[in-house]
Amino acid sequence: MPFSTLTDIQAKLSAGETTAVQVAQTYLDRIAQYNDDLNAFVHIDPEHVLAQAEASDAYRAKHDARPLEGLPIAVKDIFCTQHGPTQCCSNILKGFEAPYDAHVITRLREAGAVLVGKTNMDEFAMGSSNETSAFGGCKNPWNTDCIPGGSSGGSAAAVAAALTPAALGTDTGGSIRQPASLTGIVGLKPTYGRVSRRGIIAFASSLDQAGPMTRTVKDAALLTSIMAGHDAGDATSVADAPSFDWLKACEAKDMKGLRIGKPKEYFIDGMNEEVRAQVEAALQKCQELGAEIVDISLPHTEYAVAAYYVIAPSEASTNLSRYDAVRFGHRCDNPEDLEDMYARSRDEGFGSEVKRRILTGTFALSSGYYDAYYLKAQQVRTLISQDFKAAFEQVDIIATPTSPVPAFKSGEKTDDPLTMYLSDIFTIAVNLAGLPGLSQPCGFAQDLPVGLQWIAPAWQEDKILAAASAYERATDWHTKTASAFAGKGGES
């Protein structure tokens, strides 16, 4: 069971072969067994999980099953939930209990999902390895010396080690796709505006999107179909977004007639050769399935990381101003006066990476620097978007490696922030352009998973789902499991 997909569990529940309580118990047992090793979950309330499962079974007994009835979904610590703490893995929110649920959480609850705990993440989603978490790092199930990626590291590890069949993540510069790639699972970042951001702790407002992390493409489609939709409480969530049947989009069996763009800027020197080889092999597979690979160029790619590291910290620096110890959050002991309260509470509450980014952002927006940095970066962002638009006139979809390297060892990149920032080099431009992107497993490099990234034009997640489903059907990477966590009956 544990390595089952949501779709399989759903079938078993419908057929009466199992109950939501049994399913929940299976995963609670695995969490109890393995979480200490992995530190994927930073909060778990088994009683609450079982209570939800019981309620789901009771509901199923009297009504038609809702779309996610009884399915366990783990929640990244960035989604506000009324039950349990929401801490963004930061000391500044230690013990914070939100008096509201995020809009997405409400949608999942109303669809009958069983929400499981809070998963580990980089503090305030600022990181690519889960190492900035105030609650300790998270381990990659494929090699526990290695990081799982970030910032949705906990969600990725939890799904990869089958502590949950699916999890929620958020993606600002790659934080769903990169950890999915490093842990061999599927991660989807929808088009910006597809999913409501209300109740999700804001990092970079014009870049953040919530999305699913799952074992298969179809599971990702299932979850997104419930998460997506206009929310009147989020002015950036789109009404009348172009829609389609999410599950039907996953029925594609081949790629006949699909023109796949292969951007030369994403197959560069300095990337891990094995990673390159795996992705090249994946593209070959796509050709065998009937796709045409077209060489394209996204000329401003090399500036994406720089633009991102102005825009994201700038927005974050102001989004984090509300953590001022007045209405919620950590307050230092015995503040001498107001300024002391601000300065010390924020110093004590924020970790170093968060401080670095707040300072970078404040600097970029400050008087005299705005034009050279913030304004410039937003102009470069426009050029990056235009690169994609031009490319999509020649091709239907773009394929790239998700990460230039497989999972690296913990501590390997923590000395130099810049080195860490460059891990996002292949995912970042997608956020800047607001496009949808998905990572799926496509092989291994040094026994560590390698991810293939799909990028489509805005609102065309169906193209991604079709291509990724066809690839998944023709391969078995998604069935591989980390042996250390296979445990009892650890088959897929």
Partner: protein
């Protein structure tokens, strides 16, 4: 580039000890140095992006929808008194 770390930290209301400021200064310099790469790009006549997609401002009617939830909303507050938030005074 030499960044006045203490000044930026003050603007951000984050206390930094001298040691912390010393450690951060080169890191911030490096980051900003990398970001300076952007100056290589010709952006003449390019409009800045503020929102990734052209979205219309949603309409919200002027009708009261919220009720008094003060107690629940003040649960997470560090210090309240008779429904007011309490903070140390600003020293003028």
């Amino acid at each position: 580039m030499d960044i006045d770390v203490k000044k930026i930290a003050n603007l951000s209301r984050i206390r930094l000890t001298d040691d912390e400021a010393k450690a951060l200064a080169p890191q911030l310099s490096n980051i900003v140095g990398y970001i300076d790469k952007l100056s290589e790009v010709n952006t003449n006549g390019v409009a800045p992006t503020a929102h990734p997609h052209d979205v219309a401002m949603p309409q919200r009617a002027d009708v009261v929808t919220n009720t008094d939830r003060r107690d629940a909303l003040q649960q997470p507050a560090p210090h309240t008194e008779s429904g007011l938030y309490v903070v140390p005074k600003v020293i003028e």
